[in-house]
């Protein structure tokens, strides 16, 4: 539960700000990398976040530079992804995937969340 709270706190930091200028990326390849590099393990296969593991990353990810800085030198629990194992272009592709994640329907339009 404590981890969950941490994740929720972080989620509000991660997926709120509008995306700033990001290098061109390939979203379909970014989805593959998101899986292969294990990002999905903590953040979910749709980047929706995981309870107690990692915050939601998309849609509307934080600016690319902030994401890149955190991935390289995380200040929380996330393990580092250095440039030795994930290139800047890989990150750009992942970022393109995060930007492409569709916004879910509003809560009011999901009957199961209104009972």
């Amino acid at each position: 539960m404590r981890m969950l709270m941490t994740a929720l706190l972080a989620s509000s930091l991660f997926a709120q700000a509008p995306s700033a200028s990001a290098p061109a990326g390939n979203a379909p390849n970014g989805r593959k990398l998101f899986e292969n590099f294990g990002c999905y393990q903590c953040h979910g296969r749709e980047a929706q976040g995981g309870l107690g593991t990692g915050p939601r990353l998309g849609p509307k990810p934080i600016p690319f530079t902030a994401l890149q800085r955190y991935v390289r030198q995380p200040t929380g629990q996330m393990p580092p992804y250095t440039a030795k194992v994930v290139s800047d272009q890989d990150l750009a592709d992942i970022y393109a995937f995060l930007e492409a994640v569709k916004q879910p329907p509003p809560v009011k339009d999901i009957p199961l969340l209104n009972r």
């Binding site: 404590r2 979910g44 749709e46 929706q48 593991t53 994930v86 329907p105 509003p106 999901i110």
Partner: protein
């Protein structure tokens, strides 16, 4: 020969008599060593011949009152409803007495497929029923299987009562396997994580130790106990007229906090501007839940539920679990009620190459602990967690201390403080509503995804069970956040020791307890956990235990996937290989087919979220007929 005379000649006395006779034969002739060896062989041969061709006038082959019948009398006196066991020859006497002499009622024998499952079932049963069930197991191989589940119960402070068979007297053991299944000190294997054990050598000793073990197990801190039922003691007939006394069972009152410490805690709580109540293993009984509501409302104080027990109603305006970090960070007084890890509650720990930590509380915050952990801490296994800086520490049972604490607080609350508490509670209620809306928004992401999101799965189940008398007999984070819990039996907490293989049998044990109340037991089941001992599915079908199992099937030991990824990233290599040795794929397991093969209604695998509702409905129809059912849902990782 009369029945009483027949009963007075047991296996032990018959064999001792014949061997003694052989020894006398040897002693009378004073032979040389070589001759002596030959004589012993001849004497042994004579015994063997006698056993193969007994004389009807000497040999007694039946008995009417084995010691195990009396042991069953003790079981009934203790009020055991169930025995969870995988059969074993070291307790064959007890087993036979349970099913025949005892009529297989109170206790009823529940056939388990693994001793780890037997203990975990008793663990789950105790969480619902509030009292122990009995586990029977072999003293050696059975206890070795059972040991991890006993450790879980120990860490979870659950009263699990295990009895093991053993044959102490080497002279009466059957050659071969019975030797491999016998042990000098059977309980030593689990002594580090049981509260008490004994090896009675007479039936009177058995009765007293059995009652003592029950009392010790159920006195907070409640914990597992172990009793050895000697094989000869089980099978040897009672002497004519032998009537051992079963002691009166008077359970001990739980220990209450010292009155001075209670008064000091109350003073700190009443003057605090931002108190927080953290509850972990607080509510042992339904009364604990009501008392915690009373305390929180008396103070207008927020409650953070750490979910080892059903401590506090989820929709109560003072339930601020979602805001835990913020509230603890801003607190001036934190009251911990049976908090397992107080240090971890008030510190942030970072699992990087260099492990670091820092307090999250503000300077000067006062920490109050009421916990039975201080009454029973052992040295070897390190479940006691890091030492915490406390200002008031009561070695006492939190639930038992709450009435005195509530009363002490009420005596100190002035009208002015009461108005301040009401205003605080109003603000907390607003914050809770906002947190709930954020939570619903988080749940909406990946709502239509495949694999199915865990939030969607939780809500698909909720909508179908919410109007029934349900009991969630497992852990599930989204259910904890989105369902409305207000009854003690609606949630049973976790395993305690985090030993995998607890979930499925504990859920079934809880379902056994829920059955007589007509409750709908719901188990959201991790796939890796089920694969430790899937035989529980057969047990559920064989005994007709209604239970809805919904597979949280992420096809991995997912915690370990993340740990391996962490190591790979730290070492800057192989970041794409974290699934080697950590996933349960290739082939994917068809859990619905597995369930059906063991007589359980099976649905799935479900990969389209739109198919989940109808599958759950069909499964619930089976459960409503008194059957177990399983729905395999292929899910997102968490």
């Amino acid at each position: 020969m009369s029945n009483s005379e027949k009963a007075s000649v047991g296996r032990r006395s018959f064999l001792k008599g014949t061997v003694g006779g052989a020894a006398a034969l040897v002693a009378a002739s004073h032979p040389a060593p070589a001759q002596q060896e030959q004589a012993v062989r001849s004497a042994t041969a004579a015994v063997v011949t006698e056993e193969r061709d007994p004389s009807p006038s000497v040999e007694v082959l039946t008995a009417d009152r084995p010691g195990s019948d009396f042991m069953v009398d003790v079981f009934k006196a203790l009020g055991f409803e169930y025995i969870f066991a995988n059969p074993g020859s070291s307790f064959r006497g007890l087993h036979e007495s349970v099913v025949n002499y005892g009529g297989n009622k109170s206790p009823e024998f529940i056939t388990c497929c693994h001793e780890e499952s037997s203990v975990a079932m008793a663990h789950g049963y105790a969480k619902i029923e509030g009292k122990p069930a009995l586990v029977l197991a072999h003293g050696t191989v059975g206890l070795q299987h059972a040991s991890m589940a006993i450790y879980n119960a120990y860490v979870d402070r659950a009263p699990v009562y295990t009895m093991i068979g053993n044959t102490v007297d080497a002279a009466t053991r059957r050659p071969g396997v019975e030797w491999a299944h016998s042990v000098q000190d059977a309980a030593v294997l689990v002594r580090d994580f049981t509260k008490w054990d004994d090896m009675p050598v007479s039936l009177q000793h058995f009765a007293e130790s059995a009652v003592r073990a029950y009392k010790i197990a159920t006195t907070p801190p409640t914990m597992p106990v172990l009793l050895v039922a000697d094989g000869d003691l089980q099978e040897t007939p009672m002497r004519a007229g032998e009537r051992p006394h079963i002691p009166k069972i008077t359970l001990a009152s739980p220990p209450q906090g010292d009155s001075g410490a209670v008064a000091e805690a109350a003073r700190l709580l009443v003057v605090a501007e931002n108190p927080v109540i953290v509850a972990d293993r607080c509510a042992r009984t339904p009364a604990g839940l009501k008392l915690l509501v009373e305390l929180a409302e008396t103070l207008g104080a927020p409650v953070v539920n750490q979910y080892s027990r059903m401590n506090f109603p989820s929709a109560h305006r003072l339930n601020q679990t979602e805001r835990s970090r913020t509230l603890i960070g801003g607190a001036d007084v934190i009251l911990g009620l049976e908090v397992w890890d107080f240090w971890g509650t008030v510190n942030n720990f970072r699992d990087q190459l260099h492990r670091t930590s820092r307090p999250i509380t503000k300077a000067g915050a006062k920490l109050i602990s009421i916990s039975t952990t201080d009454l029973n801490t052992k040295s070897n296994y390190q479940d006691f967690q890091r030492f915490s800086d406390l200002d008031v520490s009561m070695a006492a049972d939190a639930e038992a201390t709450l009435p005195a604490l509530i009363e002490a607080c009420r005596r100190l609350v002035t009208d002015q403080r009461k108005r301040a508490f009401e205003e605080r509670a109003r603000k907390l209620a607003e914050a809770q509503q906002a947190a709930h809306q954020r939570m619903l928004t988080e749940a909406s992401y990946a709502w239509d995804a495949s694999p199915i999101s865990t939030a969607r799965m939780a809500m698909e189940v909720w909508v179908q069970v919410k109007d029934k008398d349900w009991s969630l007999v497992s852990n599930n984070a989204w259910a904890q956040r989105l369902w409305t819990f207000d009854k003690h039996y609606q949630y049973i907490g976790g395993s305690g020791g985090a030993g995998v293989g607890y979930g499925a049998p504990a859920a079934l044990g809880a379902a056994v307890a829920n059955k007589k109340y007509g409750r709908l037991s719901v188990n959201i089941q991790n796939d890796g956990d089920l694969m430790y001992a899937p035989g529980v599915l057969w047990t559920s079908a064989h005994h007709g235990i209604p239970l809805l199992t919904v597979m949280h099937n992420n096809r991995a030991y997912h915690q370990e996937v993340m740990h391996l990824q962490r190591m790979a990233n730290r070492h800057q290599r192989g970041i794409t290989t974290a699934e080697i040795g950590t996933t349960i794929k290739n082939p994917n397991i068809d859990y619905a087919a597995m369930a059906r093969s063991m007589g359980v209604h099976g649905e799935g695998p479900i990969t389209d979220p739109n198919d989940l509702g109808p599958a759950l409905k069909r499964a619930l129809e089976a459960v409503s007929r008194g059957e177990p059912a399983l729905v395999d849902v292929v899910t997102q990782p968490r």
